[in-house]
C-alpha cells in the first residue's frame, strides 16, 4: 500500500494545493525526483509560497520538498504592443 501512496503522490499534492482553502493554487507544478518533490510556478506573495510548503509538510512529513516557486513581479511595463 505504501508503494501505491508513492505512485499517486503528485496527484495528491496537486489536489491538496488546489482544494485546501488556505492555498487554492492551481498553477503549481509538482515533479517527483526519487525522494524529493520539486515545486514550480509562481504565486502572488511570499506568504502564499511559504504556506504551500507548510501544508505539504504537514500532510506528507516524510517527503522532502524543494521549492522553486517564484513571486510574480508587479512592476509597470516599459513597452507597448501595437495590434494589427
Amino acid at each position: 500500500m505504501s508503494n501505491q501512496l508513492d505512485d499517486y503522490l503528485e496527484a495528491q499534492i496537486q489536489r491538496l494545493l488546489s482544494e485546501d482553502g488556505r492555498v487554492a493554487e492551481l498553477g503549481i507544478t509538482v515533479q517527483r525526483r526519487e525522494h524529493q518533490v520539486v515545486l514550480g510556478g509562481e504565486v502572488e506573495s511570499p506568504q502564499r509560497r511559504d504556506e504551500i510548503c507548510r501544508r505539504i509538510n504537514a500532510r506528507f512529513p516524510d517527503v522532502e520538498i524543494t521549492c522553486d516557486i517564484g513571486i510574480t513581479r508587479a512592476q509597470a511595463p516599459g513597452e507597448v504592443e501595437e495590434i494589427s
Binding site: 482553502g21 487554492a24 492551481l26 498553477g27 507544478t29 510556478g41 509562481e42 502572488e44 506573495s45 506568504q47 502564499r48 510574480t72 513581479r73 508587479a74 512592476q75 509597470a76 511595463p77 513597452e79 507597448v80 504592443e81 501595437e82 495590434i83 494589427s84
Partner: protein, 248 residues
C-alpha cells in the same frame, strides 16, 4: 489611437493589497483603460472582492473586468460582482460596454467562458447528463459572448474572457488539461464579429500570443505569463486622434 492595459489572474487577497498599486497609479500616462481577465480573487469571497476593489478601484482610467473560476469558488459571484460594481468597476458577463476615448468608441464584450477543448480534442454534447451539462455550459456562455460582441457598433472591439479561445496561447500547459483551460466555441464567437483583439487569462503556464482561425489576435494576459503588473496594447494606430485634428 487607443491604448488598453490588461492583466488577468491577479488573485487578490489582503496579502496582495499594495503590490500592484504603484504600477496602477502610472496607468493614466500609459493607457486609456484597464481590462482584467478574471481570477480577480483567490476564493471569490466578498472580503477578497473588497481587497480587489481597494487595489484596482478608484483609478483615473475606466476598469472593466470579467470573473474567473476562482471568483466562483465560494458561490458568491453575484455578491463579488456587486462589491466591484459599487467601487465603480464594470463587470461583464454576457454584456458589452462602450468607452468613449479620444473621440473613438471602444467596445468591450466579456464573459468568463468555460472549458471544453479545441478542434480534434473537444468534448461533445453527448452521453451522460453531466457531460451534456458541461458542454451545454460551454455552448451557452460562448453564445452570450457572440451576442455581446455583435450588440455594439464601435471603432475597435475587444473580447475579454477568462478561459482561452485558442490553443496557441496554452502552449506550455500540459496537453491533458487543455479542455479545462478553454474551448473553440469562444474562438468561434470572437470570429463572428469584427473583433480587433481577444484577451484572456487562466493559463498560468501558457504562451502570450496566438490568433483565432478567423485571424483575430489573441493575448494571454495571465499575470504569471506577462510577469508585470499589466501589458499595454495599442489599437487604431492608423487613426489620427480626433482631438489632435481639432487642435490643428
Amino acid at each position: 489611437m487607443i491604448r488598453i492595459a490588461a492583466v488577468g489572474d491577479v488573485h487578490v487577497d489582503s496579502d496582495v493589497v499594495g503590490r500592484y498599486r504603484p504600477a496602477l497609479e502610472e496607468l493614466p500616462d500609459r493607457a486609456d483603460a484597464l481590462l482584467v481577465a478574471g481570477d480577480l480573487t483567490r476564493h471569490g469571497t466578498v472580503d477578497e472582492a473588497r481587497c480587489f476593489a481597494q487595489e484596482f478601484g478608484g483609478l483615473a482610467v475606466p476598469v472593466v473586468v470579467v470573473l474567473g473560476n476562482h471568483d466562483h469558488q465560494s458561490d458568491q459571484q453575484d455578491r463579488v460582482a456587486g462589491v466591484l460594481t459599487e467601487a465603480g468597476i464594470t463587470v461583464l458577463e454576457g454584456e458589452a460596454t462602450v468607452l468613449e476615448l479620444h473621440g473613438h468608441r471602444l467596445g468591450i464584450a466579456g464573459v468568463k467562458g468555460f472549458g471544453g477543448g479545441f478542434a480534434g480534442a473537444c468534448a461533445s454534447n453527448f452521453g451522460e447528463r453531466e457531460m451534456k451539462d458541461f458542454v451545454g455550459t460551454t455552448e451557452a456562455i460562448s453564445a452570450r459572448l457572440a451576442d455581446a460582441l455583435q450588440s455594439v457598433q464601435v471603432d475597435a472591439l475587444v473580447a475579454l474572457t477568462h478561459y482561452a479561445p485558442v490553443p496557441e496561447t496554452l502552449v506550455g500547459e500540459p496537453l491533458e488539461i487543455y479542455p479545462f483551460l478553454g474551448c473553440y466555441q469562444l474562438g468561434r464567437a470572437i470570429d463572428s464579429a469584427p473583433t480587433a483583439l481577444a484577451l484572456h487569462g487562466h493559463a498560468h503556464h501558457g504562451s502570450e500570443r496566438g490568433r483565432t482561425p478567423g485571424g483575430v489576435p489573441v493575448r494571454n494576459v495571465a499575470h504569471p505569463v506577462i510577469k508585470q503588473a499589466y501589458n499595454v496594447y495599442q489599437l487604431l494606430s492608423e487613426q489620427v486622434d480626433a482631438e489632435l485634428v481639432g487642435a490643428g
